[in-house]
């Protein structure tokens, strides 16, 4: 192997591919749609909630509430979602920059700092999102039980993924509805990006040691 080939191989080894992929995915995730859905009914349902840390969408008969109406519903929530979007686009950019900078020996230390700072941010968000969903479902189920059928005669909200049922009587109406909750493919992308983030952190340590 010639000196040039050796140098070229060394250069490729210094490139943090995991970090590049994780950075791109983290950068795109805030703009890729909901992570979790709740649907009342089948075939699109009569009412749906699409949620992620970056957005909340409400649909009635598959008709989406507009952004202006969403802002009106809770301006603070809308602005917080925007903050999350900007922050995670920033973390993605930082991870991407750190992974590319690791090519340069001169900027190796900066690359290490950038990757260490941004590589686990998405993982914590994924974990926090699942925990918040679990707690929200627990509180909703507990509140419904405590009210003893004042709102709903039969309510079982599945924990994070699954199907449940909902029966409610109101005035002249008696309503029985299936509830379906689950993660979307975007959440799977978030998990893959989180795993790549962990891998990028480990690989960055190896690059530094070389």
């Amino acid at each position: 192997m010639t000196t040039v080939e050796k140098a070229s191989e060394g250069l490729w080894r210094r490139l943090n591919f995991f970090g590049i992929l994780a950075g791109i995915l983290t950068l795109l995730l805030p703009f890729s749609g909901a992570w979790w859905h709740l649907t009342i009914g089948t075939d699109g349902g009569i009412f749906s909630i699409l949620a992620s840390p970056f957005e909340f969408k409400f649909l009635i008969f598959n008709k989406q509430i507009s952004t202006a109406e969403a802002v009106q519903l809770s301006p603070l929530l809308w602005w917080l979602c925007l903050a999350f979007k900007l922050c995670y686009a920033y973390f993605g950019a930082a991870l991407l920059a750190g992974s590319l900078l690791s090519l340069s020996e001169k900027h190796a230390e900066s690359a290490e700092t950038l990757v260490r700072f941004s590589s686990l941010k998405l993982l914590w968000l994924v974990v926090a999102f699942v925990v918040v969903l679990f707690i929200a479902t627990f509180l909703l189920n507990s509140a419904t039980q405590l009210m003893g059928g004042a709102i709903s005669r039969n309510f079982s909200m599945p924990y994070i993924v699954g199907t449940g049922k909902f029966a409610m009587s109101s005035g002249n109406f008696l309503i029985y509805a299936p509830i379906n909750v689950g993660f979307t493919s975007t959440f799977m992308v978030a998990i893959i990006a989180s795993a790549l983030g962990i891998a990028s952190r480990i690989y960055q340590k190896r690059i530094c040691c070389v």
Binding site: I46, L73, L114, N172, A177, P178
Partner: protein, 171 residues
Amino acid sequence: MGVLKWVLRVIPTLLFILCILAAFATHGFSLKSTLFSASPEEVLAEKMLAPLNATRGEEFLKIEDAGVEGDKMFVTLSARLPFPANVTVKSASLYAGGSEFNLVEPVVIPAEGSAILRFEAPFNTSSTQQVATGPEVGKITLKMEVKGVEVEFQSFATPPPTAADRRSWRG
């Protein structure tokens, strides 16, 4: 490196602070209107359910016709849907002139459209006169299905037929 670390950590914090400030600033620094600019019920009623409100003035069910055919009495109702989903009326019954009328067959009401529901009851001499002159429907029970959601609806009175309705049935 210390500066880089510091800058990296400060930027997300600044972004959050700026967004929270913007939320308050755009709503006159009022906690209530920043948390909930409009009540969820208001938004639901006025914006999201606009198509439902548009047809609020019209009755969901309206008596169309009534009479006697052979050995059966019948009542037909027109049902009008204000929302964009098909509704299947699986079973239904109504009381008119002391008789119980049942829906002849399940009916699909198209999205934002209307359909005719035909109810029939065995011939009954005491009820015939009342049915022929325009029935006063006492109680309607409907079992419907819309996008997997089953709805049971009970109405204890429908709008009584007008004089014009009665004349058209006799004619």
